[in-house]
């Protein structure tokens, strides 16, 4: 192979870098709309899952339209805030604001049998990265109807178990309040009694993820407590 001058090497690298950067920037820009759409469908899919409705990529949109009747944003005092698209609220960004200024999205769903539910988003930290999910609460504003969790990169087989049905199903029927006091739902290491209204079993080998999940639910849902108490029936 022949020798190349330093000058040639510099020019070669510069041209290569510019060409590659242009190519990647173009690809990212062209594909972005489709990628954002996928994320939107994914979010709708999770919300539906928390009210016990399984959907495929194809029918997510129509099912979402059918079951999610209303969505709005409230503040910590439980007052509705007008003019904010609840679907577009990014929980992670809200958590950086002062508690009084945070937008708290509420999704209202009505099931086929007329049962009214509200779905509340939660987001927190697991062991390796963010964990998030949706909790649906019955109209007594206390009993959990269903939930779904997801994570970015928890350990498969351990922390990643939080997004499996058996784990999520343990939350069904648990209570958020003890009369007027918000107690949240604990994730107990060593197991919780089946009739314990405020605790579920933690995941063996997934202690930090379990703790993160517990903190996430307590932190996020406690902000809704005024709203939940106000809207009981």
């Amino acid at each position: 192979m022949k020798e190349f001058s330093n000058r040639y090497i510099f020019i070669f690298s510069a041209v290569m870098v510019v060409a590659v950067a242009t190519l990647l920037a173009m690809a990212a820009t062209l594909l972005q709309p489709q990628q954002l759409r996928n994320l939107e469908i994914e979010k709708k899919k999770s919300i539906l899952e928390s009210i016990g409705i399984e959907s495929t990529r194809e029918n997510t949109e129509s099912l979402y339209e059918k079951y999610i009747k209303e969505l709005y944003v409230i503040n910590k005092a439980g007052e509705k805030i007008e003019g904010v698209d609840a679907f577009k609220v990014v929980i992670k960004d809200e958590q950086k604001k002062a508690p009084e200024q945070q937008y708290l999205p509420v999704f209202k769903a009505v099931l086929d049998d007329g049962e009214k539910l509200i779905v509340l988003p939660v987001e927190g930290k697991g062991l390796w990265g963010p964990v998030w999910g949706y909790l649906s609460v019955k109209s007594d504003m206390n009993t959990i109807y269903g939930c779904t969790f997801d994570h970015k990169g928890e350990t498969p087989g351990l922390g990643a178990e939080i997004n499996t049905r058996p784990f999520e199903d343990m939350f069904i029927g648990k209570k958020l309040f003890e009369s007027d006091k918000f107690v949240s739902i604990g994730v107990l290491k060593g197991g919780a009694a089946a009739d314990d209204p405020h605790n579920v079993d933690a995941i063996s080998g997934g202690t930090i993820t379990s703790k993160g999940l517990e903190k996430m639910i307590a932190d996020c849902i406690s902000k809704y407590s005024d709203y939940l108490i106000k809207n009981r029936n």
């Binding site: 190349f4 070669f12 690809a27 996928n38 469908i41 990529r57 990169g153």
Partner: protein, 217 residues
């Protein structure tokens, strides 16, 4: 290159470039490269197939690009150039998956990005594309990607069938009614070590069929 006789595109030599990595010179079972991802993405057939396809595309196209530029790549920065080409290809594949195969890209998560570190790629670029013409390099890339893919698919098929009782998501075991006889899925097969053991069995089988693959004492 004008002094060479023009070779037909699918000459025996070129076809051999494609077929040897499938068997005798398989990147996983003979060269023992790319084992890490072979363990990680073979729990189910679908991610394994997508991974195989992605690696094949990336290897073939990077080989093509590097072979086309090989006379202009300064020797001193050739590894950097190879990495840039691979990284670019991988990011493109990742972006496409995120846009058009979202579920699969969620399952593969970090492993798509890790194609960059797959030794098969660097190995082929350095050993083949830097010294050969674009077309044979492209075929060599396809062959090595397919050789990698074929092992992935075999391992994933066994693991999915015995571990989850499905094939490509289709519940075979349930349809056959085997569960009623007391059969249960073997959870062990879902764990990474079993992939290693299956790969080991494939290597064992291959070497017993091809004694010349066994190292001389």
């Amino acid at each position: 290159m004008s002094d060479h006789v023009k070779e037909p595109m699918f000459s025996a030599k070129n076809l051999k470039l494609f077929t040897t990595p499938l068997g005798r010179d398989n990147p996983i079972t003979v060269q023992v490269l790319g084992i890490c991802s072979a363990l990680a993405v073979t729990v189910k057939l679908k991610p394994a197939l997508v991974m195989a396809l992605s690696v094949t595309i990336v290897t073939a196209v990077s080989n093509l690009v590097i072979a086309a530029m090989r006379k202009y790549i300064p020797d001193r920065i050739r590894i950097i150039v190879q990495l840039v080409v691979i990284a670019t290809m991988v990011i493109l594949v990742d972006q496409f998956l995120k846009a058009y195969a979202f579920d699969v890209s969620k399952q593969l998560s970090v492993f798509v990005g890790l194609i960059i570190t797959n030794c098969i790629l660097m190995g082929r670029l350095e050993a083949f594309a830097m010294a050969n013409k674009p077309w044979p390099s492209f075929i060599d890339g396809l062959g090595n990607g397919a050789g990698y893919g074929i092992i992935l698919v075999i391992v994933a098929f066994i693991r999915e069938l015995l571990g989850s009782g499905t094939v490509y998501g289709y519940p075979v075991m349930q349809k056959l009614g085997i569960y009623s006889t007391g059969y249960e899925n073997n959870g062990m097969l879902i764990l990474p070590p079993m992939a290693l053991i299956i790969v080991g069995c494939i290597i064992w089988y291959q070497r017993s069929k091809n004694p010349d693959l066994i190292e001389k004492k």
